[in-house]
Symmetry: C2
Subunit: 215 residues, 2 copies
């Protein structure tokens, strides 16, 4: 498959690297054509680097791995025509540190997942992976147990495609919990403060939630 | 021990019933002295019923089991002098349904746990149990696995006392995860929308989170 991964931070490089390792064609997208981090990544991972628009134009599936607060700007730069009909995998969190405090924006009455789906109504947005560190995203076996990955989105076919992608990453389908429509992106994004508290309590990011259930 | 459980809803009655079953003296507190639900509970469970102030005055430990949005009003009715120096176990969520949508208030920039600690600075507030259904609160074995209970609060001694109480409910100490100061009540309350989504996905409330970790 041909993937665009938007964002050259640790999340984008890690996801892009794993996709390339799995044999996919990957373009790491950034604001500028000659982003040194993206070029270095491309040389090392055997992928390509380009602008957001170049990456999205070449791709069948677009992964949003920029920060949640700049996601709409990056996708607008990618271009609506380059996104129409495509699956957008949104792994972002609308996270910022303000005066030493973690803050989310939007929060509770909206989510980045919904913002993207509203802004690009012909794209098929699936929210997933935002509840774990990027190392765990692409290597869930770092954490023992039958821990969960969540997905939500409006398009059942898109969720199936993303579930298959999660399977390539090491998340078997029985551990993928479908939370329904894209509105559930709110609850997935609102989990982040608890993730941060658990991270601070454990002292590392190699953890994830297993939803234990009576039946 | 002598407990006040503020609130005559399902959460209050369930917690009060378990505490009475464990041999504690329990007063179920409500706005009025002759609340029929509280009187019926008292007759059945072998506890007492009274106003918020009567319940708190008689108690060594106060459990806030009214809804998060009315918690301050209930505790003010209980009376600051009846709360001074006492452990307040806050199990509430600031939850309301507005136009068919789940809403939290406060959210993200504050929490009920913090509101209570600020309003009653000489009380020792511990936030816990708000992340599970009340049946699971008092009978964690309904759900298989080593799933977690979270605590947070400013007073280490109070957290130890509450951890011992959780032990009586069936939560062994190694499954109680301390998230630090009362500010973490924000993240525990913000988990609620995800709880609701998982509840809707599974179709029942007999579930809880196990924090799986590499180490």
């Amino acid at each position: 498959m041909r993937y665009a991964v938007l964002g050259t931070g640790e999340v984008g490089r890690t996801l892009g690297g794993k996709l390339a390792e799995l044999g996919h064609e990957v373009t790491l997208g950034s604001r500028t054509k000659d982003n040194p981090t993206a070029l270095e990544w491309a040389a090392g991972a055997g992928g390509s680097a380009g602008t957001f628009a170049e990456a999205a134009a070449a791709a069948e599936v677009v992964v949003n791995a920029v920060g949640g607060r700049v996601a709409l700007a990056a996708l607008e730069a990618a271009g609506v025509a380059n996104l129409d009909g495509k699956v957008i995998v949104d792994v972002s969190n609308p996270l910022a540190i303000e005066e030493g405090q973690l803050r989310l924006d939007p929060v509770e009455s909206d989510s980045v997942g919904e913002q993207i789906q509203r802004a690009f109504p012909h794209a098929r947005v699936v929210k997933t992976l935002n509840t774990v560190n990027c190392q765990v995203m692409v290597d869930p076996a770092r954490v023992p147990g039958e821990h969960q990955m969540f997905v939500c989105g409006e398009d059942a076919g898109a969720k199936e495609e993303v579930t298959a992608l999660l399977g390539e990453f090491g998340w078997p389908a029985h551990r993928v919990l479908d939370l329904g429509g894209i509105r559930a992106a709110r609850s997935l994004e609102m989990y982040l403060p608890l993730w941060v508290n658990v991270y601070q309590s454990l002292g590392h990011a190699d953890f994830n939630l297993e939803v234990r259930r009576a039946r």
